[in-house]
């Protein structure tokens, strides 16, 4: 998979929040096989307060860093946060989140497009967290985005793909654009579903971090994403309305017991 001219061997992107411990986090990253991890920025207290301990841990992993603008509610806020992230994390990659509603955490598409335009012009590789709306997607591409990240379900809900038909339309509408289903994935089967539909990757966090055994769940997601992709590439059979016998009927014995009609 190629995102902004970077080749990645895994189609799973993993969030780093809410894990029970830093050790579990790093083990989960390794078990998932993911090539990209998301991180954020938060207020730092003076005198070396110490949220920084986790950052060297993540730097020691092989995963590429994708900073986010989580929690931003305006374009300006997201733009400034992106600029700060670029300096601290040393990457021009940015997961652009501009939240439009505090309850649903759904993207504000207007502010999103506005921020994307500014950041793309400023040399950022923007990964916009968006809806499945096709026109918003076109505007984001016009703004310079070369990857789109439609939601599966509201952030942290674990509800899977809520709008399968709309996601399928989006996939069909933008055949050459890397599309990553971001947010709302709760189970490996849901990740596999997105991959079978032809999405290029999935990004998730809570489903792994809040699992009973996050490391084992990370591995399960890695396998599900790989299986889903393999299935997509293999070509799924078209569904049928009626039953069709899989065992050949031709040459079947007539035992005179009411079998053949």
């Amino acid at each position: 998979m190629r995102l902004y001219d970077v080749d990645l061997s895994s189609r799973l992107l993993l969030g780093t929040a809410q894990y029970p411990s830093p050790l579990v986090l790093t083990e989960a990253i390794a078990a998932s096989g993911c090539g990209v991890i998301t991180v954020s920025l938060r207020r730092e207290t003076a005198n070396g307060g110490g949220t920084n301990g986790f950052w060297p841990l993540l730097q020691a992993t092989d995963a590429r860093i994708l900073p986010n603008t989580a929690g931003c509610h305006s374009a300006r806020e997201a733009i400034t946060t992106a600029q700060m992230a670029r300096e601290v994390f040393g990457t021009n990659w940015i997961k652009l989140e501009v939240i439009g509603n505090a309850d649903t955490l759904q993207p504000d598409p207007f502010a999103l497009v506005e921020a994307a335009r500014v950041l793309c012009a400023d040399g950022f590789a923007v990964f916009p967290y968006t809806t499945e709306d096709l026109i918003v997607a076109e505007r984001l591409l016009d703004a310079g985005c070369r990857v789109l990240m439609p939601w599966g379900a509201p952030i942290g809900s674990g509800r899977g793909l809520r709008h399968v038909d709309a996601l399928a339309s989006m996939r069909g509408h933008f055949p050459g654009v890397p599309l990553i289903v971001d947010a709302g994935i709760g189970a490996p089967s849901q990740a596999a579903q997105a991959m079978e539909m032809g999405f290029d990757a999935v990004l998730l966090n809570t489903a792994v971090a809040k699992a009973g055994d996050p490391v084992a769940m990370a591995r399960a997601f890695g396998q599900a994403v790989a299986a889903g992709r393999a299935a997509f590439e293999a070509g799924l059979m078209p569904p049928r309305d009626m039953a069709v016998p899989s065992t050949p009927v031709l040459g079947m014995a007539n035992l005179g017991l009411g079998g053949l009609r």
């Binding site: 780093t16 986090l25 998301t38 991180v39 730092e44 003076a46 070396g48 949220t51 986010n68 942290g156």
Partner: protein
């Protein structure tokens, strides 16, 4: 002068952002700064003058989704 540091009213004597961070005890760890909502790069901190009532944000890497 009194600035607003990460939402907390804070007295600082330093004239510029770089000196203020030093005086406040921020080490050399990974930090990003903004002044009144505008990003200030690490290189620009020493030449960025502070004024009474300025809003300063100091951010560090954090886990994220």
């Amino acid at each position: 002068m009194r600035i607003d540091l990460n939402g907390i009213p804070t007295e600082v004597a330093a004239a510029n952002l770089g000196d203020a961070l030093m005086a406040l005890g921020y080490g050399s760890t990974a930090l990003a700064t903004a002044l009144n909502g505008v990003f200030i790069s690490a290189a620009a901190r020493a030449t960025t003058l502070l004024h009474d009532g300025d809003r300063v944000e100091v951010l560090a890497p954090m886990q994220g989704g």
